[in-house]
Symmetry: C2
């Protein structure tokens, strides 16, 4: 496990007592791929410090459609699983483990007490929220001004990079849930990509044949 201290670039600005309280408030956890770690309306689970694995943060519509807001990887901190700590946050997110994930779960009570007394912790937390805000603004930009072919091409390239493989084991439904669209739209677009020689479709998998072509589409 990555030590708790390494998640906090401001570690050296903390007092010995604060360091101790933060470490004592962190519990080792493991979630198999597919686990839902946090549901919007759930109680406040706590801060998640990801030691290994991958989380997906997403939002859902009333009728169960989904869109991925961003992914969190090793060394990232998931704050919204402790949204109760922050008075201004009034929206609901879901967090699931996309792979086997090892993490520290930090008690929201302890963390929020530390935020209250320590300006470095408060400002560091601030910078995490600001980064997530930046990711959501990027997504908003995509939703507003990019066409679906660009978004799907970009998503396939990102998946290939995350998995370090040109063969993606993804259903059309899963892609639709990442991008907040309907399965039919994804299927139609993937068939078009295939006719252009950019991908090869088979049962339950998509093989990228021409990444350069996908890059040109996504630009």
């Amino acid at each position: 496990m990555i030590p708790v201290s390494e998640f906090f670039p401001i570690w050296n600005s903390l007092t010995a007592a604060q360091k101790q309280r933060l470490e004592a408030a962190a519990v080792k956890k493991h979630a198999p791929g597919g686990t839902i770690l946090h549901r919007g309306s759930d109680e406040c689970s706590g801060l998640v410090l990801i030691s290994s694995g991958q989380l997906r943060v997403y939002t859902t519509s009333d009728d169960g459609r989904e869109i991925t807001l961003y992914r969190l990887l090793e060394r990232d901190i998931c704050l919204f699983s402790a949204a109760c700590m922050m008075s201004g946050i009034q929206f609901e997110l879901q967090v699931s483990a996309e792979r086997d994930t090892e993490f520290w779960l930090v008690s929201p009570e302890v963390y929020s007490a530390l935020m209250k007394e320590s300006a470095p912790i408060a400002n560091f937390t601030n910078s995490i929220i600001a980064s997530r805000f930046t990711e959501v603004m990027w997504l908003m930009d995509q939703l507003l001004w990019k066409r679906m072919d660009q978004r799907i091409a970009k998503f396939l390239l990102e998946e290939a990079a995350l998995n370090d493989s040109m063969t993606l084991k993804l259903t059309h439904e899963a892609i639709a849930n990442h991008l907040g669209t309907a399965r039919e739209v994804v299927t139609r677009m993937l068939k078009y990509f295939q006719s252009e020689g950019a991908v090869k479709l088979s049962r339950g998998a998509i093989e990228i044949l021409d990444a350069g072509r996908l890059e040109r589409i996504s630009d």
Copy 2:
């Protein structure tokens, strides 16, 4: 003018010296309706504390289309006009005065120094970012899962409430820029609302005849 102290619910947690620095860093300003106060790529203007008037915070596409993220009114603080203060913020917003606006402009250098030393200021700033994040997530929800007729109906009702008038002096172009869509889409929808007896269209104005009907559409 509303005194600087009243913008900060945490005022009493500050030292006398901090209060003094914050007040000394605030300069009275006035912007006539229509003024652009902050352009994404501009230098860091500073925190805006709105004493009276109305600001619009929006984002634009490369080809000049716009969408309103949220409005700020009397007693609100505009933080993103000082986005340079926050390391994690990497997106560009525009801020314009929609009406004559009187405000305090607070130096970003002084404010960011205060944030560094004062946990109450850092946490208060945090709660402002969290509130704006909430507004953007609300908008995202609208964009993703609501139909355009619902969004236009809701927008007309909000405008009527903001202006305390059932006659809105708004072009179809302006509405399109608020909602991130094309003028033609707005015109088509308004004509539909008119055919349903919900509004009456005239040159440069929209009169709401049946607010209840618009409410039912927006739900």
